[in-house]
Amino acid sequence: MPMLRGFLILVLFFLLGEALRVLFLLPVSGGVLGMILMTLSLMLRGRVSDDLATASQALISVLVLLIMPGVVGVFFLASQFSGQWLAVAAALLLGTFLSVLTTLLVMKGVLRLSAQRRSND
């Protein structure tokens, strides 16, 4: 029962997110809106109930199962994108290399700056 009660809370937040999306014509998915609302409500409440913890752990532990049907599509629909493989491969490999480099350099730089400022104070 705790799991189902927690699941109901998750479903209600998801439905709330979907309702807001449709109501305000938002380009963001109902799941993401529900997640933001969930995080905000937990910050207000200050703690996670046992029901919610049980249900969310159960769902998160089977995330791989939930995304599998989407991955299967790669093998059945890939031929649609033949002729664009070079663009896709370059975007994924070079793009990821550059974005990892950017993340590391920016965060390292800001950490160093804020450490310097602290030592100057």
Partner: protein, 240 residues
């Protein structure tokens, strides 16, 4: 006798009329994939989701089940992605105290790096002549899968292509973080964890937890914040 054989051959097709076959096949491939993943020593370049999906695709092809029909049945599973995305708000809330400790580097790095992760990929693919559908499928490549599926649907991309790109991005982001950590060098586990989660979503986070618990916590935070930020910004940018 031949009648029995022909009826035997028709079994997968007849059972595929109900969603329960798709559910049974997906669950079986999930457990076999996880078991095989543990047996081959949990390699970073072969995430369990890819292993399970390869097995599942092979079974669907061998039994010659119609792919569209499979996806109709699998809707009983994928519909749970909505509440599962909401559930990601709970670990995000539990990591939020890290933001208080390091808010300045996070507030500066996150919007910039999460935006550039999408911009680099889209610009490179666009320069090499990719179609708008492919660009929309590549843009959320650093976002965790449940959120990325929602983004791609909003942008009008292909979920299948996006999932392929997502898996490759996760694996190569993990390799590049290890490589660049030595080159630059970066030793701070908080930076490495954050970079792994921001660029390599759940696959990067799995690697971060191998480095240390701190790296794992920062990776979860980076993954969660990137997901939220990208989901909010990308559809607005794509509208223009």
């Amino acid at each position: 006798m031949t009648e029995l054989v022909s009826r035997f051959i028709a079994i997968p097709d007849l059972l595929a009329a109900s969603p329960i076959l798709a559910i049974g096949l997906t669950l079986t491939a999930f457990f076999v994939g996880n078991w095989l993943f543990a047996r081959i020593g949990k390699p970073l370049w072969m995430p369990p989701v890819l292993l399970s999906a390869v097995i599942l695709s092979a079974v669907i092809a061998v039994l010659s089940i119609d792919y569209v029909r499979y996806q109709e049945g699998a809707l009983w599973i994928t519909v749970l992605l909505g509440p599962a995305t909401v559930a990601l708000g709970i670990p995000l809330y539990q990591q939020i105290h890290h933001i208080r400790a390091l808010w300045l580097p996070i507030v500066v790095t996150l919007p910039l790096a999460a935006t550039m992760a999408a911009v680099y990929a889209v610009v490179i693919a666009w320069a090499l002549g990719a179609t708008p559908e492919v660009l929309a499928s590549l843009a959320p490549k650093s976002v965790t899968a449940p959120i990325a599926i929602g983004i791609t649907e909003q942008l009008g991309g292909s979920v299948a292509l996006m999932m392929g790109g997502l898996l490759i991005t996760g694996v190569v982001a993990t390799l590049f973080v290890d490589l660049l950590a030595k080159w630059l060098p970066v030793e701070d586990e908080r930076i490495l964890g954050f970079a792994l989660g921001l660029n390599g979503h759940a696959i990067g986070t799995a690697r971060a937890f191998e480095i240390s618990h701190t790296a794992g916590a920062f990776s979860s935070l980076g993954m969660g914040l990137t997901g939220v930020f990208t989901a909010l910004i990308l559809p607005l940018v794509f509208r223009l």
